[in-house]
């Protein structure tokens, strides 16, 4: 059960995010087309003029100095920003061809297809098993929950460490284990896209290595967008990289291109460590 092959994406049965572009031919196409003209928190303009197309089964990294708006863009993609009071936004986020900010779209449904892993490991105060099963229960999964939990934990390279203590609290694990538990929780429902908001920044170097390795493995089956302030991490794990600075997209390119032959002066300054 450990290898899920997702050659062919099953179509969304309920039609919320259904679109005409969703067919086998578009396997390597753009899953998310995120275009932000202006984004405000109250009166503060956090992001402007940023457009990032995200390709299927690729890892896209957002880099930039802190406060540049990379997390804000990420949170736009599964509408987590809706929870912030005073959030306003002009632009669109197309997920499989459909605008998720269209008034008819339920943000709750969007988040079920676009999973998220947060900066701080945030397991629930319940058992390891129930943590992973959480999403399955949300989605009324009718198959064997236990199998799916084992599968997700195995994919998150955590199964061997926790298989004997599935009933222990998720909070009893170490920080690195907690973060892998959160990844397992996010992938248990096999979302289309996985958003990761600096998933390794709260972890020590060894735990970081493990999480990075895990992210590289997940690329096969998921479209991943990762925010990081660590350029080495971006160059190690990602296929494409977007560099944001002062709330604006400066450059978006293949990762090796961006790091070896940046087109923009600001990108070059940032990756060569002259600021940020």
């Amino acid at each position: 059960m450990t290898n899920i092959k997702r050659d062919k994406k099953p179509s969304d049965p309920c039609g919320v995010v259904q679109s005409s572009t969703d067919d086998g031919a578009k396997t390597d196409g753009v899953v998310i087309d995120c275009k932000i003209d202006e984004l405000y928190y109250g009166t503060f303009k956090a992001v402007r003029d940023t457009a990032v197309p995200v390709n299927r089964n690729k890892i896209t990294a957002f880099i930039g100095p802190s406060g540049c708006g990379k997390s804000t863009v990420l949170r736009c993609i599964n509408r987590m920003n809706d929870l912030v009071r005073g959030f306003r936004f002009k632009g669109h986020v197309h997920f499989r061809g459909k605008d998720i900010y269209h008034p008819s779209v339920d943000p709750v449904a969007v988040r079920r297809y676009i999973g998220m892993v947060f900066q701080q490991p945030n397991p629930f105060a319940m058992s390891i098993y129930n943590n992973v099963a959480f999403g399955l229960r949300l989605n009324r999964y009718r198959g064997s929950v236990r199998d799916k939990v084992e599968e997700a934990l195995t994919r998150a390279v955590l199964w061997e460490e926790v298989k004997d203590k599935l009933n222990k609290s998720g909070l009893s694990l170490s920080g690195g284990q907690q973060q892998r538990l959160c990844i397992a929780r996010a992938i248990a429902t096999q979302p289309e896209v996985l958003l990761m908001d600096e998933p390794a920044s709260a972890l020590d170097p060894i735990a970081t290595m493990k999480v990075e390795e895990l992210i590289r493995q997940l690329r096969r089956d998921y479209t991943i967008i990762i925010v990081t302030h660590n350029m080495q991490q971006a160059s190690r794990v990602s296929d494409k990289t977007a560099f944001l600075y002062l709330g604006r997209l400066i450059e978006f390119n293949d990762t090796d291109q961006l790091f070896t032959r940046p087109r923009e002066k600001q990108t070059e300054d940032y990756i060569s460590g002259r600021f940020g």
Binding site: D12, P13, R112, G143, T189
Partner: protein, 342 residues
């Protein structure tokens, strides 16, 4: 792979059922929130309307009248208002002195230090078991003070009747004999009276004062304390010159809230104050209070007297509401002020 769910994806948009439940549940919470506001409004309104006939009939003279006679239909609650305020103020003075002292004692770590020093003499201060003792003793003392609040007021009343009154009576009567010309000692203590009620009342409000004052003292920013110590102030110079003034608003708020509690306290007064319609400065004379008046008269009230009692209840409601709102406003300001300074 063979997906056990039959090839479909696990992720699904919320089902119709989930959406309906979500909306219903949110409405339900909203509705109950409204209900709790309406409940308070309804309580106030209910008491006010029930009091309306008496309000029309008795007018403001009710507040200044000094007799209470259902037979003649003469009603006045000045003695009750006086007794309520008099006992509450006295209880507040005692309760504040002891309550704030206890709050300082608990918040400044006196006891923990004392235990630590004692352990040091025995050389046990880092012992795996005894080393934890200072903090545990401190926490235990705090819990004991809080326990004072847990004892039901009727039990305090019982205790006051059978312990406090016999205990203080000889002393009170001696004071009356020697210092009878002082208005406070003007009468003898024959049984229930102001002083026993005040003593018990002060014990009952002490935990409130201690708990809230302690919170205020603990939340004084450590940097202020460090600044004072750093300039060579002694511990008490620090407490008196820096910590108490900084926490003053919180302590004042605590005292006012305790005052509100004292004004509304029923059982200790109904059992200990003597239920006599009398205005006297004497600590040993029996008196009455609004709450005690209600407690004594409601159970056997005739239908026509209910409105008068409701009027008295309305007066009590107005007084306590006023005091409580002032108290919570001060406390709110106190906590927001500290946060601003941090």
């Amino acid at each position: 792979m063979t997906d056990p769910s039959g090839g479909t994806q696990i992720s699904q948009p919320p089902t119709r059922f989930q959406q309906v439940v979500d909306v219903v549940f949110r409405r339900l919470c909203h509705g109950f929130a409204w209900l709790s506001v309406l409940l308070v409004a309804f309580i106030v309104l209910k008491i006010a309307t029930a009091a309306a006939p008496a309000l029309r009939q008795q007018g403001l003279g009710f507040l200044t009248g000094t007799t209470w006679d259902p037979n003649t239909g003469q009603f006045g609650i000045l003695p009750e208002i006086w007794g309520t305020v008099f006992t509450s103020c006295l209880a507040l003075m005692i309760g504040t002195a002891f309550g704030v002292a206890a709050a300082i004692f608990l918040s400044e770590g006196f006891l923990a230090q004392f235990v630590f020093r004692t352990l040091k003499v025995a050389g046990l201060e880092f012992h795996p078991f005894f080393g934890k003792l200072p903090d545990q003793v401190q926490a235990f003392l705090k819990n004991l003070i809080e326990l004072l609040a847990a004892i039901p007021s009727v039990v305090y009343g019982l205790w006051g009747l059978f312990v406090i009154i016999p205990l203080i009576r000889p002393m009170c009567n001696w004071l009356n004999l020697k210092l009878g010309w002082v208005p406070f000692f003007g009468t003898t203590l024959t049984g229930p009276g102001v002083l026993p009620a005040v003593i018990v009342l002060s014990i009952m409000i002490l935990p409130t004062i201690t708990a809230i004052s302690r919170d205020a003292l603990v939340s004084v920013p450590a940097k202020l304390r460090m600044a004072a110590y750093g300039m060579g102030a002694t511990r008490w110079e620090t407490i008196l010159a820096v910590i108490l003034p900084t926490a003053a608003r919180g302590i004042v708020g605590a005292v006012i809230l305790a005052f509100g509690r004292a004004l509304g306290e029923t059982m200790a007064l109904a059992m200990l104050v003597g239920n006599a319609n009398r205005i006297s400065l004497s600590l040993f004379s029996p008196a009455n209070s609004l709450a005690a008046l209600l407690a004594n008269n409601f159970p056997e009230a005739a239908k026509k007297d209910v409105a008068v009692l409701m009027y008295a209840a309305l007066v009590l409601l107005a007084i306590t509401l006023f005091v409580n709102i002032i108290g919570s406003v001060i406390l709110e300001r106190a906590s927001s002020g500290l946060e601003g300074r941090r």
